[in-house]
Amino acid sequence: MVLKMADKVLMKGNEAIAEAAILAGCRHYFGYPITPQTEIAAYMAKRMPKIGGCFLQAESEIAAINMVYGVAATGKRVMTSSSSPGISLKGEGISYLAGADLPSLIVNVQRGGPGLGGIQPSQSDYFQATKGAAHGDFHMLVLAPASVQEMADLTVKGFELADKYRMTAMVLADGTMGQMMEPVSLDYDVKNTVEKPWATTGTNMEREHNIVNSLFLSPEKLEEENFKRYDRYKLIEENETMYEEYMMDDAEICVSAFGIASRVAKNAINEARAMGIKVGLIRPITLWPFPKAPFKKAGEQVKSIISVELSMGQMIEDIRLASECKVPVTLCNRAGGMIPTPEQVLEAIVNANNGGAK
């Protein structure tokens, strides 16, 4: 099978992630099935054997993330994917990857929680992805796609950033993004040139052994590693933050949403604009690093900010911090696998415009 990448194809978000990963040079996928991301594994199972790659269905999510650790230590591009409960299981491995400064890509196609929850779309793993994936001081790069095209684009970007900064990048999608089909074009000039002198590729009897490990016997050394890692995080915050602004120039109300919620929000904003309400959107594309600058500016420009989320309100905390609490920030949400409608968001915009924001 020859896929001509410049041509448009009709893909599910999950398939787009899988094919983009292959194009980015990923030849190792380890995972365990869970709705609504199973098509990633199914696609990899079909494609990897045909291109000399490795697809392995592990016995559990915990096994899969540790296989990712193993391949990452050799410097090869590697990924795993899961949905909310499965990502929780991977937590320990994610922390070990961070402690050993290993690049990897993890995809979370979120579903409603907590617990086993449901299989419908959700954004309630925002806290987990941006703040608390597991124990210890560390961050992941968190990329939030809002279309099938971005599912692919941010997968490629995720691999590149992971290599560049020696850390885990997470594509944080949701069930809608994973399952919906849209036309995409997968035409990339993939950068895969980062030197990895630390990789455990065999000494060839010509150098000292490389050791990949997250255990440090001296607390002084461990502290030093933590400080070094956070210096790198500062660089990332300065250079890699991504967001989209929509109709913010003259906005008096700011709506903020990421992923699928931003598409619902855009529809509502268009309707509100038609009614003469000056409203715009800030859509964070990187959730970590969080785009603080546009919200700081919005705090000085608008009357209020509405956070549209498929959760009980998680990103809203970062918006309050970034806008320095200068204007009210209210929540417009559904939870447990439900999606807000454009009508619900429009109502929130009209309320805010009437000064109803508390």
Binding site: V2, L3, L10, E182, P183
Partner: protein, 223 residues
């Protein structure tokens, strides 16, 4: 408007995401215009997200009986089949549409019914194809998927439905360009292209240019 020659049972199978469910619902509505008793069965054990049940309001309004697992569209993520599925082969007075799950995995569920369907021998097994899907871009890869499905469900495919589309970006030209793809598969497999399905918004533009054009009313996912 195309005159479809429906057998008593019409089965729709294909690669996942090829458009089976949408077409199944549209064919059931088309059938209902000609026959009194129409059943549609959702035997999809693969995808818990997009289900025939999403169209339940349209189906109810038309008086079409939906046979679906009570778990379809719920959070219970298990490959359950409805017990009423046996009425598909037992009630010979009804015309039936069967929406089969994607790929060979989905077609496996048909194994339970395949002997009776073949014994009655009044069925059409249609393979839905879309050249714009990444794993079926040409005749060779599509025929590979077709062989996997036939092998899993033990029923031979009898015809093709060309549903080549690029979602909301689909142009009339895209559909015209897909005709050769469908014809090549037809030549290589000796199977007729039973119809080419298009969004109803493209119907007038393409009517007369493509044989057996079937307009589709797109079904929405409810949540």
């Amino acid at each position: 408007m195309i005159k479809m020659d429906y057998k008593r049972i019409t089965l729709l199978c294909g690669h996942y995401g090829s458009g089976k469910t949408n077409i199944a619902v549209n064919m059931a509505l088309d059938l209902k215009a000609k026959y009194d008793k129409v059943l549609i069965a959702d035997l999809d054990i693969v995808n818990p997200y997009f289900r025939t049940k999403d169209s339940i309001e349209d189906l109810n309004a038309a008086g079409i009986k939906l046979i679906a697992s009570e778990y379809a569209g719920s959070n219970v993520d298990i490959p359950a089949l409805p017990q009423e599925m046996y009425s598909l082969t037992d009630d010979l007075s009804a015309k039936a549409i069967i929406d089969v799950g994607g790929d060979d995995r989905g077609a496996l569920a048909l194994g339970r019914l395949s002997d009776k369907i073949k014994l009655e021998n009044n069925y059409e097994m249609l393979l839905v194809i879309n050249k714009f899907r990444p794993l079926t871009p040409d005749a060779e890869s599509t025929i590979e998927v077709m062989a996997e499905i036939e092998n899993a469900c033990k029923i031979k495919i009898t015809g093709l439905v060309n549903n080549s589309n690029l979602g909301y970006l689909t142009t009339g030209e895209d559909v015209l360009n897909s005709v050769e793809y469908a014809n090549e598969i037809s030549r290589l497999t000796n199977l007729p292209v039973v119809c080419t399905t298009v969004n109803e918004t493209l119907y007038n533009e393409l009517n007369g240019k493509i044989e057996n054009l079937f307009p589709l009313k797109l079904q929405k996912k409810i949540n």
